[in-house]
Amino acid sequence: MQYFQLGNHKIYIENYNNDFLILKEANSISKIIPQLGQALFEAKFKFTDEVISTETEVCLKLNQNYSSKEIYEIINMSVKAFDKKNLNKQTPGKTYNLPVCFESGTDWNLIEDNCKTTTEKYINEILNIEFTLAMYGFLPGFLYLTGLPPHMQCKRKSSPTKIIPPNSLAIGAQYLGLYSIPSPAGWNIIGSSAFTVSNVPKLPPNLLKVGDKIKLKRITQDELTILQSSDHNLISYNAKS
């Protein structure tokens, strides 16, 4: 299998019949894969139709412009991004406060059972975590946030909820997830955000970038109603505070 080196990271390239490529680091979750995915997406190669980036893999969907020599362009671009942005040093993103009402969480009983804790204790702990936007995926406007310590992780529900309201916050295994649009949900719903992070149908479709940091801020049901009907959005709210 082909591979290339970014500093001391060994990045493997799997080629599936020139239909798509998958780039990943051997056996590990790597902080540089999401940043590599971002760089390859922003490169807007003529020979790719889609770039999908997750925590562990970057997938490049190839088109008819692809030939085997393009692999060197991918490697060159990766090395350039690595040198410039210091992918390995994890460039700090912006930090945002996200006002969250935990009273609207519908699955606290599951969290309490699974994590052997109380709702109050869990909320106090989660307010002290700085989350990182690890990846987009699943549905437009959905965010995968990392930072949950193992004792706060909670398995997905055995049967998904049919439909949950937009801006729901949920725990699914090691992730804190934010649903921007109504959706069926297999994750444990713990609250609602006062603001959307979605920018659909504008570009870019998300207000936050991979690598950005998020801290939750507790608000009451009344404050949630006030913020939702205010002129504020996530960006103006954070400019103010």
């Binding site: 799997e14 599936y16 019949n17 239909d19 798509f20 998958i22 979750i29 995915g37 997406f41 807007k44 139709d49 889609e50 770039v51 999908i52 980036s53 997750t54 925590e55 562990t56 893999e57 970057v58 997938c59 969907k61 990846m135 987009y136 995926g137 699943f138 549905l139 437009p140 406007g141 959905f142 995968y144 649009i181 959706s183 659909v200 149908p201 570009l203 870019p204 479709p205 998300n206």
Partner: protein
């Protein structure tokens, strides 16, 4: 159900915005050809329950795909040819056994919203279509056909009902998860397209495939054509409105050109490996 579709949105999967677009490119492009449009123009895609349309103006249209017994006023109209209708006429189809998908193209530009350079309806995020939705009773669709040119085209289709499709299977990233018994099942048995299939995915029904693990540790990239194996052991083929990431093993994929073959509830699928 009827939606507006064109070729779809390219390049936004990074943001989890799926391609969308017409499910049967060959039929959609043919419909556009028959009215003199560009091949990727927006048109109506009808699924299972066809619409009833009333014309506010004279129009030139065409119908391709499955036979929903479309009538203009009270006379049956043929598919695969240019049709002219007058102001006040109605076009009406009805659900038919083995009719899954049909296209209605109108000469000119269809109205509605364009998002990210496409009119394709993706209702989950309210993109395209009429206000981001599938069509509903009472909707008015504008058609810009100021420069109506006279076309009269007809295609003879040797139509035979396809109930069984043989599809080339390619190994996916988690192909190795399948044990020998499952491999033998996969390439020697038939799968049926289940009625729970939709624009997101074709759900297959057949002998259960087993793997060592049905839930990957991490969510990984998924493209249209990928074959996922959920805990039911019944494969799902990701289609044009599909999720861009997922946690099920990706045991294989099919060519993008073969996506047309996995549309149609009840059809039989046989996987062949080169």
């Amino acid at each position: 159900m009827t939606s507006i579709q064109d070729k779809g949105r390219i390049g936004l999967s990074y943001y989890a915005i799926p391609n969308s677009g017409y499910m049967l490119p060959s039929k959609a492009e043919l419909a556009n050809f028959l009215v003199g449009n560009k091949k990727n123009d927006a048109l109506l895609e009808c699924t299972l329950i066809p619409p009833q349309l009333e014309f506010i103006d004279d129009n030139c249209l065409s119908i391709t795909g499955d036979d929903f017994n479309f009538m203009v006023n009270d006379s049956k109209v043929s598919r695969n040819k240019t049709i002219y209708v007058k102001k006040g006429d109605t076009l009406k189809g009805s659900p038919q056994k083995n009719a899954h998908l049909a296209y209605i193209a109108f000469q000119g530009k269809l109205g509605g919203q364009k998002h990210y350079a496409s009119q394709s309806t993706y209702a989950n995020a309210n993109l395209g279509g009429i206000n981001g939705m599938f069509l509903k009773e009472g909707d008015i669709i504008s058609i810009d056909n100021k420069n109506l040119s006279h076309v009269n085209r007809k295609i003879k289709e040797n139509w035979t009902e396809v109930t069984k499709e043989i599809i080339q299977f390619h190994k996916g990233p988690e192909f190795k998860f399948l044990d020998n018994k499952s491999l033998s099942i996969l390439f020697n048995s038939e799968y049926k397209i289940s009625s729970s299939s939709n624009r997101m995915g074709a759900r297959l029904e057949g002998s259960r495939l087993t793997t060592k693990n049905y839930q990957l540790e991490h969510s990984v990239p998924v493209l249209p054509g990928f074959i996922q194996l959920p805990p039911s052991g019944q494969p799902i083929i990701v289609l044009k409105d599909g999720q861009t990431t997922g946690g099920y093993p990706r045991i294989g994929y099919i060519n993008i050109q073969d996506l047309e073959k996995v549309v149609g509830i009840g059809k039989t699928i046989i996987f062949k490996q080169l």
